[in-house]
């Protein structure tokens, strides 16, 4: 029924300019959804790498959050949403680290992400990646794959998910795929070769051809089954390996509208094209267009390119790191350019570069060009000439 009392609560609250009704998505919703997405990937990482993964994520998160909180409190720079974003950066930085690093590596990663990435650069370089590439240099012997003659890393076996001990790892002689292989008794984890290491060695011609067969030794002997790379049962960073879960949470972010589909698509398509075209070294000469290689009636070239897409940091970079709202271009057009840059640079550095974490480097390099990309993809104002036809005043 009609209220007989005053029809207004208080006239003082009624001032305000149009628009009076706002959209429903606030920065809180965006950051919560992103944190949840990163958390799901982290959970899958914890399943594959055990309690050590949780330890690394929590240490990174504590240091990122704590250092940024100290800055906010001492410098009085509090602003809405800042600490939520720092929380997201902490989780993402944890996802980029392998689970078997010491706690001080995670602590330094988090501290650098907060101080250098967030406070000094103000977030325009992805802070989590600033921290990650810093510890990559600082703890080169520990984190790098390049020095080892045979790089290996531990992954929990299918029977010991979540609860297994990552240090109780052993090599197996005949690896048939993660689902089928069980480690020797009293061991929880398998020592496996990262596909990225095999791919890099292959591109540099270190995996010798078997007669006429160039790709077959790589696919047969050096790489795990592709399904392992999809579910993430390969060594690597906590959140880097689980391709399938990354794609699922990426689709959720796209569905919610908090990530533009153009960006991951541009990254992955350009990486696919680059890996298809760019030559690999084989027996002293370069083989262009590896995607068209067919050996023994099998499309080994295509398999090689698909391994490139699922190996290393590319998936995590494409869905969860490149799409960071602060450090990526504003428009979908710009994000396509940005994504193409990331995809091509990643594959290029992977094939010919010496830097590891090539996808993180590619994202940081493209972050530098975001301002330029934004300027060249600005929209035409209605009723004015196109930007390139406009006469400079």
């Amino acid at each position: 029924m009609t209220t007989e009392a005053s029809w207004l609560l208080s006239p003082a609250a009624l001032r305000g300019e149009a628009p009076h009704r706002r959209g429903v998505s606030t920065h809180r919703h965006i950051l919560r959804t992103w944190i949840a997405a990163a958390g799901v990937v982290g959970l899958v990482g914890c399943a594959l790498f055990g309690i050590d993964a949780l330890r690394v994520i929590i240490v990174t998160l504590l240091f990122t959050f704590g250092v940024d909180l100290m800055f906010v409190v001492t410098m009085r720079r509090a602003s809405g949403g800042r600490l939520s974003r720092t929380f997201l950066i902490g989780v993402l930085a944890g996802l980029t680290l392998p689970a078997d690093v010491d706690w001080h590596v995670a602590a330094i990663c988090g501290t650098v992400a907060a101080t250098v990435g967030n406070v000094i650069f103000g977030g325009w370089l992805h802070p989590a990646l600033v921290g990650r590439v810093f510890v990559q240099f600082l703890f080169w012997e520990k984190l790098s794959l390049a020095g080892a003659t045979v790089a290996v890393g531990p992954v929990l076996s299918a029977a010991h998910l979540f609860m297994g001990d990552l240090n109780q790892a052993a090599k197996v002689e005949h690896y048939e795929g993660w689902m089928e292989t069980t480690p020797p008794s009293s061991k929880d984890a398998l020592l496996l070769t990262p596909p990225l290491w095999s791919l890099r060695r292959f591109a540099q011609g270190h995996i010798p051809a078997d007669g006429d067969l160039q790709f077959e030794p790589l696919l047969r002997d050096a790489l795990p089954p592709w399904i392992d790379a999809l579910i993430g049962a390969v060594p690597g960073g906590i959140g880097e390996t689980s391709t399938l879960s990354i794609i699922i949470v990426g689709f959720f972010l796209i569905y919610r509208g908090y990530l533009r589909w153009q960006l991951p698509v541009a990254v992955l398509v350009s990486a696919f094209v680059a890996a298809s075209i760019l030559p690999i070294e084989s027996g002293g000469n370069y083989v262009w267009f590896p995607v068209f290689a067919v050996e023994g009636g099998r499309a080994v070239g295509l398999a090689y390119v698909l391994y490139h897409l699922t190996a290393g940091q590319l998936m995590l970079g494409a869905f969860l790191l490149a799409g960071d709202v602060v450090s990526s271009p504003m428009r979908a057009h710009g994000q396509v350019v940005y994504g193409i840059g990331i995809g091509v640079l990643t594959i290029f550095m992977r094939l010919y570069g010496v830097l590891e974490c090539e996808c993180y480097w590619a994202i940081l390099i493209m972050n530098v060009f975001v301002g330029t990309i934004d300027r060249f993809t600005s929209r035409r104002v209605l009723g004015t000439a196109p930007v390139d036809e406009a006469v400079p005043a």
């Binding site: 609560l9 006239p11 001032r15 009076h20 602003s79 929209r379 209605l382 004015t384």
Partner: protein
Amino acid sequence: MQMSLLTHLLGPRSAFDGGLYLPDRKASLARRPIQTLHPEGPLHVPLTVRRDLPTEPVVRPGDRVVLGQALSRAANDQAVGVHAPCAGTIEALKRVWTVEDGFLPGAILSPDGSNERTRQHQGWDNESIIVQLAENGVVCDTPRAPLHVVMREAISAGVTDLIVNAMETEPYLTADLRTLVEFPGRMIDTTCELADALGVSRAILAVPFRHRRVVRRLQSEAAGRYVEIVALSNPYPQCHPVMLLKAVLDREVAPGASIFTEDAIVLPMATVRRASDALLSDLPTTHALMTVAGDIVEHAGTYRVPIGTRLSDLAKRVGLVAPAAQVIYGGPLTGSAFGYEEAVVTPDSKALLLFGRADISRPVPCVRCGWCVEDCPVGIDPPALMRLETESVCSDQKRTSLRACIECGLCSHVCPSRLPLSETIVRNRIRFTGGDSATEGGTRH
């Protein structure tokens, strides 16, 4: 209208870059027919329609008037008089408060409940359409001026196309849709008459494709007439004249220019409805067709409200389930919030929205999500224009962008950081270009 099967199923594509399909919140509202509210208390009738249009009162306190009788007379040819919205006695002549213009000269009219009205002319008389519009006090909503003045300007500007704007893409508003549902033939007839008077070569009625049955009904009414029915996709702000011109005729108004420079005139549906009363029935404008809605309104719907009804009385008559925390005069994205008890209904009132909770939250720093840039219908960069607030110089390019803004409010609406983008852009435009919106050509306000 030829349509492929796909267009028939999915509807036409959005005709401009940007824009957003808002939840329209009209479903239950738009099913209720238009109801006429009869005056219950004294009416506070403003005697002019805009503050700068002078009129002279032709009644004195104590006079008895009947429905449709003139209360004031235009003092120059830019103004129009106001007519009595009911039969009754003039109590006093004193100022009344309107949301758009503040205080205006007004008359307090006590209704006596009789249905007595002025004698109507039978059939057509020899006066021109424009004189009939002026005598019956028809006003236009955008530009906000008497319709005969707008039409004279349009004729001297040599317009060749008339677009009648029935898009109404703002949430909650239903007046135009109900008009099209209830009086499709009258609207077509009036559009033809106005097109005749303007001497245009094309007359177009733009309606939302969403309401397919309305579109089909209008097409059958318009068969054989020279009014074209154009069914458009309806992202907000397709209802803005500049976007409508882009969608219908693919012409772009230069930033800061009047819409007449593109040889077209865009008349809102509400204006055509008032003109239909004046031209087809020789009835002066005495009522406003308003949507009264919001989450605390008990009997939300489309109402024909006598001019001079106090908005607070109107709110009480439709029934509130809770006291209002936010009262909006006009649409939710372009209207004005007010809280003054004395505000009254004017001829161009289109909606009264009452909400139990004000949508207010503190702004946080921009996160560069780019939603405002993607959704802006005219392609400007709202964050860059907002940053002008702390600067003292403005580049020519940014000045053009400031002029191009059509004040649709979409950037502020979508901003996840709740930044006051569109509000600040309006302030910066006044500061740096020293003027009103260019695209509205000074004809809106």
